[in-house]
Amino acid sequence: MNKLSTTLAVLAAGIVGPVTAASADMVETVTERGELVCGVHTGLVGFGAPDESGEWQGLDPDYCRAVATAILGEPKVKWVPLSAQARFTSLQNGEIDMLAQNSTMTLARDASLGLTFPAFNFYDGQGLLIRSDLGVTESKELDGATVCIQQGTTSEYVIRNHFTDMGISFTPVVIESGTEFFSAFFSGRCDVITSDLSQLAIVRLTSEDPEAYMVLPDIIAKSPLGPVVRGDDKAFENVVKWTSYALLTAEELGVTQANVDEMKMQDNADLQKFLGATPGVGELIGLGDDWVYNVISNVGNYSEIFDRNVGAGSPLALPRGQNALWSDGGLMYSPLF
């Protein structure tokens, strides 16, 4: 009997063990491991896609690099590409440390998955992409249309509510694989695909004939995107949250990757504290005082990240729009350091 209970305990530990390990002190775990394990998109140019050398590039991967640098002093990241369907489970079971994969914050995801959204890195909206030759100018005219939806996204219920509210019907085709999702639209299986506006813009621009497709003017839902972490590690959550704020504050203060050394030396108390010339910015969140300096010198500030991945400096050339700083009329706002 004794042997049996030992066996049972070992078996149970084997099953529950990995879950328990995931709730350890993440900052310490990442430091010991020497790299941050980050869940990213399987391939969405601008927001997370591998380059020729297999390194992930994009707005979200740069947030992984920023967090890794804040903890480790250098942008050492292990990339784990995840489908929309698998991403939250991977984070829950500890396969990844942080998820930066175009994830929309919702009440259910924040409150019932054991996860938390520390910050936003892109304010998006959900929209509809159609073929221009349909002659449709707004979503009201889409009665009876077939809509392709990607599984595991908020668009699955947003689209239903939108069509129901307008009193028109639609047929959904829900596809898990990202590639099949887009090819179903381009082959004409669906009249409409729905997703975040940024993603629709990218899909349209990277298609063979962008003029043949148009994004409808209706924005059917807000879609605030940001990195996600598990909810049981406040210290790590703070690191992710304040790294995001540091990127915004740096832009606000005019600190860039190029001038960060020079700015650190300036005779300005705020700058000296922010960049770690004088102590104070690290201790409270369990990092060294030079963490902001490291992040900016390795990754750049928010506007630099935005520009090179999705903004003017990239083929996508998305406007800053509501992702501009609050002082420029946008929504990006950082609390005080």
Partner: protein, 373 residues
């Protein structure tokens, strides 16, 4: 029963009770630990979500379902789609397997070559790849609604699927009456004949009812079908086989057909040569010897392997999620994603697939018993 026998039986029983008890205790322990851990992580547990509003639509369903229904109903709708594609594929896979096996055994060189080519190419490529291929065939290579192909009046093929007319309510009633009448007379006829009773009266009744249906049929408006009609975005009315269904249906039946063909061929060849030679010596023709001597023995050999291929087919239907077919797993994955209750959902999948496969296994046991001698 001797004393030692009784003691053995007692010991056997005790061991069984203990083993089952230990397994149940372990499951309970694991379940409660997982539950505790999930609660500590702030993840919802339990099956209460099944009665909550789902809020998402499914592309097709055999049972009435819309987004206002519960998660439980969404899963049921998904399950109905799983059954639909699995059962229809099973029949076609068996038919394909039978034809291909027949072609290989027929001795015709060209038929043999075609069958072997089919088996070699289809069996040696991954099923998922084949599903993507069929999805491409049904979405990319077929034209849009406006350029739809008209196969028959009212039967359209386009990248929205195969649309066809369906009988309306009166037609269905007529069909039902006809089928029931024919079935009832056939059964009664066989029953009486087996008992050596005179069936002439019944035969007259059957003919009488059959003849009475003819003028009735003439009064029915046969144009009263639900005809598919092309709208701006979709073909409405009538029935439809969606590209997603056809992808999975073609993929599963053609893929599984190759395995069944090999099983059947192997089974026929496994029947000892002497059996058909002996049948020949008894004066049976080749066809008679195949039907009466070889086939019953081959069926017995082929049954277990054929059934496992069919069980594989049922499980493989869950690949539908990759091509947008709203089967149980697809409907459930969305629920899992919205509620975050992965463990609960996975256990529902397990129970559902085990349930289908237990039914198939029971059915095959019944068949096996028939071929027992």
């Amino acid at each position: 029963m001797s004393y030692s026998h009784r003691r053995d039986a007692l010991r056997q029983g005790a061991i069984q009770v203990f083993t089952i008890g230990a397994i149940l205790a372990m499951l309970w322990l694991v379940a409660s630990l997982v539950r505790q851990r999930l609660e500590a992580m702030g993840i919802n547990t339990g099956f209460a979500f099944l009665s909550h509003r789902a809020g998402y639509d499914l592309g097709e369903s055999l049972i009435p379902y819309d987004g206002d229904s519960s998660y439980g109903r969404a899963l049921l709708a998904g399950f109905s789609n799983t059954l639909k594609v699995a059962l229809s594929s099973i029949f076609v896979a068996l038919a394909l397997g039978l034809i291909a096996a027949g072609a290989m055994l027929s001795g015709h060189a060209s038929a043999n070559r075609v069958a072997r080519f089919y088996i070699r190419t289809v069996r040696n490529t991954p099923l998922l790849l084949q599903l993507f291929f069929w999805f491409g065939v049904f979405t990319i290579s077929l034209p849009g609604i406006r350029e739809r192909i008209t196969l028959l009046p009212g039967v359209y093929l386009s990248n929205r699927g195969l649309n066809f007319p369906t009988p309306d309510a009166t037609m269905w009633a007529f069909i039902a009456v006809t089928v029931v009448t024919l079935a009832a007379t056939t059964v009664a006829h066989r029953h009486l004949r087996n008992r050596g009773k005179n069936t002439i009266v019944l035969r007259y009744i059957g003919w009488g009812v059959g003849l009475a249906l003819v003028p009735l049929a003439a009064t029915l408006d046969f144009a009263a079908f639900n005809m598919p009609e092309a709208g701006r975005f979709a073909i409405k009315g009538g029935g439809v086989l969606t590209p997603e269904f056809m992808t999975l249906f073609f993929g599963l039946s053609i893929y599984t057909g190759t395995y069944i063909a090999e099983v059947l061929r192997g089974a026929v060849q496994a029947v000892a040569e002497g059996q058909s030679e002996a049948a020949g010596a008894l004066g049976l023709t080749r066809l008679q010897s195949f039907r009466l001597v070889v086939l019953p023995q081959a069926t017995r050999i082929a049954l277990p392997s054929t059934v496992s291929e069919l069980l594989n087919l049922v499980k493989n239907s869950s690949l539908g999620v990759a091509v947008g077919y709203p089967d149980l797993v697809s409907a459930g994955n969305t629920a899992m994603n919205q509620t975050g209750q992965a463990i609960e959902m996975i256990s529902i999948y397990m129970v559902a697939y085990v349930a289908i496969n237990v039914v198939i296994t029971k059915f095959s046991k019944m068949l096996e018993a028939r071929y027992e001698w």
